[in-house]
Every structure is written in structure tokens, then in C-alpha cells.
Symmetry: none
Subunit: 202 residues, 4 copies
Amino acid sequence: MPVVDARTEELIKETAMRIFFVEGRLHATTQVIAKEAGVNRGLIYYYFQSRDQLFEAVFKEASMVTRGRLRDLLLSNGKSFQEKIGEFVELTIDHGMKYPYLEMFLVTEMNRDGSTLLIPLEDDTRKELLRNLGKALNDEIAKGTVPKMSPEQFLINVLSLCTYPTLYKPILQQMANIDTPRYLKMMEERKTLVMKVLFRGY
Amino acid sequence: MPVVDARTEELIKETAMRIFFVEGRLHATTQVIAKEAGVNRGLIYYYFQSRDQLFEAVFKEASMVTRGRLRDLLLSNGKSFQEKIGEFVELTIDHGMKYPYLEMFLVTEMNRDGSTLLIPLEDDTRKELLRNLGKALNDEIAKGTVPKMSPEQFLINVLSLCTYPTLYKPILQQMANIDTPRYLKMMEERKTLVMKVLFRGY
Amino acid sequence: MPVVDARTEELIKETAMRIFFVEGRLHATTQVIAKEAGVNRGLIYYYFQSRDQLFEAVFKEASMVTRGRLRDLLLSNGKSFQEKIGEFVELTIDHGMKYPYLEMFLVTEMNRDGSTLLIPLEDDTRKELLRNLGKALNDEIAKGTVPKMSPEQFLINVLSLCTYPTLYKPILQQMANIDTPRYLKMMEERKTLVMKVLFRGY
Amino acid sequence: MPVVDARTEELIKETAMRIFFVEGRLHATTQVIAKEAGVNRGLIYYYFQSRDQLFEAVFKEASMVTRGRLRDLLLSNGKSFQEKIGEFVELTIDHGMKYPYLEMFLVTEMNRDGSTLLIPLEDDTRKELLRNLGKALNDEIAKGTVPKMSPEQFLINVLSLCTYPTLYKPILQQMANIDTPRYLKMMEERKTLVMKVLFRGY
DNA sequence: AATGAATGAGGCTTCATTCAT
DNA sequence: TATGAATGAAGCCTCATTCAT
């Protein structure tokens, strides 16, 4: 008997979100997704047309926050550079803890030919971001708080220090024999720590 | 033409290595691997029993260097801490450029239930490593070259600063509009840069 | 906009008629039929119980004219044999132009085991028709206007000369590079031409 | 246990040929085809990549004879027009009896958008054929053996008189209560009869 | 060693149909 | 009447794997 429920679409999306990006089962079958959502498999196609489109919908929803973040933050006014980066670090670590596998999918997907999921930044936006970043960065370099480096290298440092730990959570846990509560505590500590590594005298 | 040659096994392994860990096609079928190696598909099973075992063989071979590195380096004598880390950074960046997708697989694999590929370090070894690291790190902290942090956090910093860029090569290239030669140059620069970020006054 | 209208049933039937027998999309899904009719898919089942029964209803409606034609014409009085056949030819060609794919479905359907759509003529009717036809035909043969042949063969000739062109319209258009207006003109010409082929001296 | 047999591909093709074009089950599933051929379903994909390609292979093989026939015959020398048409009629009726459903598929297929199965005649070939036909036909018209008509109409007459009966075999059998042996006899008779209908005084 | 053929499990998707509202 | 949601039975296809030669 059909369970008529207007929230089914949302339920499927949330279940898929968890399976894909929280638990990292990127290759979960529609069968499995339907079962864990407690719905008929056909409904996935009813609402999303194909597995790929479900994946895309979920991915886009999970990415949206991240997409706007860099831009909003870096272009915002009234905050110092270090404040901006501090917020960015915090947001990125939190987001990474929420969806640990989103980054991994991003990496895999970027290497697929003809990927349509990742719409690149427009050239103008990208250039403006790097220009702004470069200016602020040079000030820091002049002050001696950051060693001399290009904006690109700085960006890599920020992202790697924030993203890597979520990606490698299981490995870290095993290597350092850390349980989940302690892992979460470490991640909280990292928010400040990363800033200290990035900016001398922070 | 049949490849009547004792090196067929090696040929398969090398081809798989390239496909899996250099080109990142972690889900390449046996069909494809056999074709690109120019051998019959059955031979994969003749030599490796299953796709999984081929994967494992290739993975182990590619990992072996890395596996021993941490241990060898950190336990070695006659080098200062910064020298040791410096070498480690160099090795890690080079290895990551050679097999960009090895790390990605590691991440994916670590999250599979019942993974048998990654044999954890023995408890004693792990503890000794962290103890040694901790001691040297505390000296640096005392000297003011490194902000106060646990050995685990320091390790995460080292690995993330070295590994992330190989994982995100395509994204970086697109975001910063970098071509391959420039990317390679940036990676070379990173070897020193990472040290400067890790150690103030490097 | 919902179509709140007692003519919904008729609308579905007309749309299906067009889709099935005018455009030849004999395998159109209920989805498509509903969409093109602008109604909800469930209504098809409300009015027709199943896709098959919709098809049957439409088929029967389209066939009805044809069904009675042979009988009415051949049993009618006050017309000569050639006049009767002439009218039959005209009706058949016109009907074929109206529903080009009705004939094709007939062919397909006849070969399905357990087809219930095509109710065979009663034996008595069939025999009487053939007897009447045979008598008139023999008169023509005696007059030398028709070569010696059985009534069955004559019937096949009539039907094939009238029906085939509608069935093969696209092929004819491509083979002979004929556009639709010219095709229609040719079909008009055929009405006389077929008679000339059937009856020498017509 | 695998039944290694070099003729499996041929077996599949022959079975499909029978199912599709002799028995008219144009929508038979790969399941059914495999079962009737006594092979594993996967083999269909091993040899033919997809159901469509199997269909195409079978269709092309069955069509090849027909494709060349019109051309070869009509362009051949040393035969009178009536002889040529006589042979063509004979070949067409025989071919139609062999693959009764080939014609039906052709009809269906011609109406599919983007059909790639039916490669149209080249324009030059088509024009030459019609020109040759027109010339010979005009001679016959002048002699009074054929009523005045265009080459296209003549072609339609030939094809319809030969093809229709195979298409309508089941209907004819039911309508006229004819069993198979008698049907075959009628088809044999038709070879001459069609010529008599086409050419007065044949 | 090497190969082409064969197998079977499972994945994605479509679609007629049913149901609650 | 009308609708959107839900169901389940197929159908197509891929792929790791096995086997006879």
C-alpha cells in the first residue's frame, strides 16, 4: 500500500546525503538508498529521473554552502584579513566534519572527463579573488607574520590544513589511536592551531 | 600477438599501477586493464586470482616506499629534527606527484568495513614514533620555532601540507588556472615553503 | 489546468487515436498519451481500466467503418460489380490515408496468440461474400476484363493495391523523393488507376 | 559449465532471425532469445554488444538479398522488361514467404525518427532506376500492355501485389479459411497471376 | 601460459498499474 | 472526477570470474 507522504522526496535526498557524503558510500546502489530511506526504488526515478541526477541534487545541495563561502567571505568588508581567514577556517573545518566525503567526491569527480557537476568559477571572479587575496597577503608578508609566498600557495595551505583531517579521519584515528570524542576535540583545537600555523604571532 | 614472456605478470602490474594510481581510474574493469596491457583478460586471474588481489599487489608495491619512510626517517640518527622533517616532506611530495591517486584510494579504502589492505602499525612502534616525535617537537616549541601543539597535530600538519596538493591537482589547476609545468614548479617550491610554515625561522 | 469536462474520455480517445493510428507510435506509453492529452495519467485507468482496453476501444472505433464496408458494399443491390469495387477502392484508400497505421497494427495483432481484438467473420457471412464475389468475378472473367483467378486472389489484389501505399508512405516518399502534397495527389490518382489495373478496359 | 562452441554467434543470429522476422515477435526480449537459442543471456552482449545491434545485424543480413535485387535486376542486360519484372516478382514473393515480418519491421522502422538502419538509395542510383523503368514502361504503355501510369505507380503496384500477401498471411488465412499448404499454393500461383495483372496479354 | 567463450550476479531504468486523497 | 505518489515486474546491460582448449 502506498505511503503517501509529501516529504518523500526530501527523505530520499537526506538519506542519500548521509549515505554518500557522511558515510562515504559513494557507490551505494539505488536499491540500498531506497531501502535505507524505506521507500520503493522506483520512487528514486520518479523524483530524480536517474541515480546520477539524485547524486547531483545531493551534491549541489551539500556544496552550495561551500560554494558561496570563499567568495562571500573574501569579498566582505569590515573584517581584517586574519579575521576573514579565521572564519573561513572555522567554516571549512565544520563543513568538513559534517560531510567528510564531499571533498573526496570532489577530487574523484574533478578527474572525470566531461564532468558537468563542477561549474568553474568565472574568470573575472577568480582573478578578483586572487588579487584581493594577494594584496592582503603582501601586507602580512611585509609585517613578517607570513613567510613570502604566492597567493596560490597560501590558499593551498589554508585548504589543506582544514580539509585533510576530515578526509583522513579514519587513518588518523587508527594511526594515533584516537576515538571519536577526542577526534572532535582535536578538530576544535585545530581551528585556532591552523591560524597559528598560518600567521606567526596569531 | 600473444605476449609469451615471463614478464607478463610484471606488465600487468605496471599497467594497473598506471591506471589505478597515476591516472586515478580506480574503478577500471579487468577488461580495460587487460586491454591496455595488451594481454588476455584471463591472465589477470591466472597471475592474481582476482581483481582485488591485483589491486592489492599494486597498492602494496606502491605503498611500500611510503610505509617504511616514516619509520626509517624518524628512527634514524645523526640528523636534526628539522633535517628529518625536511627529508620527509621532500619524499612525500615526490611520492605524491608520482602516484597522485594512491592517497585517494587510501582514504576510500580506510572506510570500507573489513578492509584488509591497510595493516595498522603495531602498537609499540606507533607509540615509540609518537614519543620520539613528541620529544623533538617539544624542543622546537621551547625554542619558539613551532607553536604549542600535540605531536598528532604536528603530524597532521606535515601530511596535509604535503599530500593535499597532489590530491587536488586538477582543482588547483582550474581554480588558479595553472598548467602542468607551473604546477610542478609550485610543488618544488612547496618543499621549502612547507618547512617555512612548519618551522618559524627555517 | 485540470480538464474538468465530461469530454475527457473522448479527449483521451482522440489523442490515443492520433498517436496510435495516425502517427504510428503504437508503443506510446500511458505517460505520453496522458501528457499529450493534457490529462492525468490515472484518468486513463479511470476511464479505460488498462492501456490494452484503451487501445482496444480506439482500435474498434477506427475499424468500425472498415468492418462494415466490405459487407455493406458487396451485399448491396442496384450497383454493378465494377461500381461496387470502385467504391470499395475509394473508401479503402481514403481510410488508409486517414489512419495509416491501423493496417500495421492489424498485421501485428493478428499474429499474437490469443488475440481477442479481431473477431473473425462468421462462417456463413464469409462464405456468402465469397460466393457472391465469385459469381460476379466469373462474369468479368468471361467478358475478358479480368484474367482468370480465384475470388481470394482477386480480393488480395484489391486490398494490396489499396492498402500497401499507406503502409509504405515514408518509404515511397524517400525512394521516389515525393513530398506530401504530391503523395496525396498520387493516392487520388490511384483510385482510378487501381480500377484500370483490376479491370481491363475500365 | 561453459559449452564452448565456435558457432554460438551464428546460433544466436539464426535464432533471432527466426524469432524476429519469421515468427514476427519483434519485441522478443534478450532473455527469450537466449533461452530459445539455448545460450546464456550474457553471450548476446558478448557477441553483439546490445539488443539493438543484434537486431541490426539480423536485419541487415536478412535485407541484403532484397537490397541488391531491385538494382541488379533492373540494371541487368539481355532480359526483356517483362522478364525482369517476372524475376523480381518471383524473388520478392519467395523472400516474403521466407521472412514475412521483415517488411513489417521496415515499415515501423521507417517512421522512427533518426533511424539509422535504412540507408536510402543514393540519389543518382534512384534517378537512374526510375529513368530506366520509365523508359521500358512507356514502351509497354505504347504497346497497350499496361495502362498509362507513372513509373512510381507501377512500382507501387508491383511491390504491393507481391508484398501484401506475406504481410497479411494470418488475416487471409482466417478470412478465407485457408490452411498453410493451400496458402503456399496460392503464393506460387500469384507469381504468374501478378504478372497477368500487371501486363495485359502476359 | 594463454585464449576465447561462457556464466551469473547484480545494477540501472521504464512502465503499467494501483491507491489515498 | 481528478491527481500525485507509490509499487513491482520486467528489461537491458556490465562485469568479475570460471572453464575448456
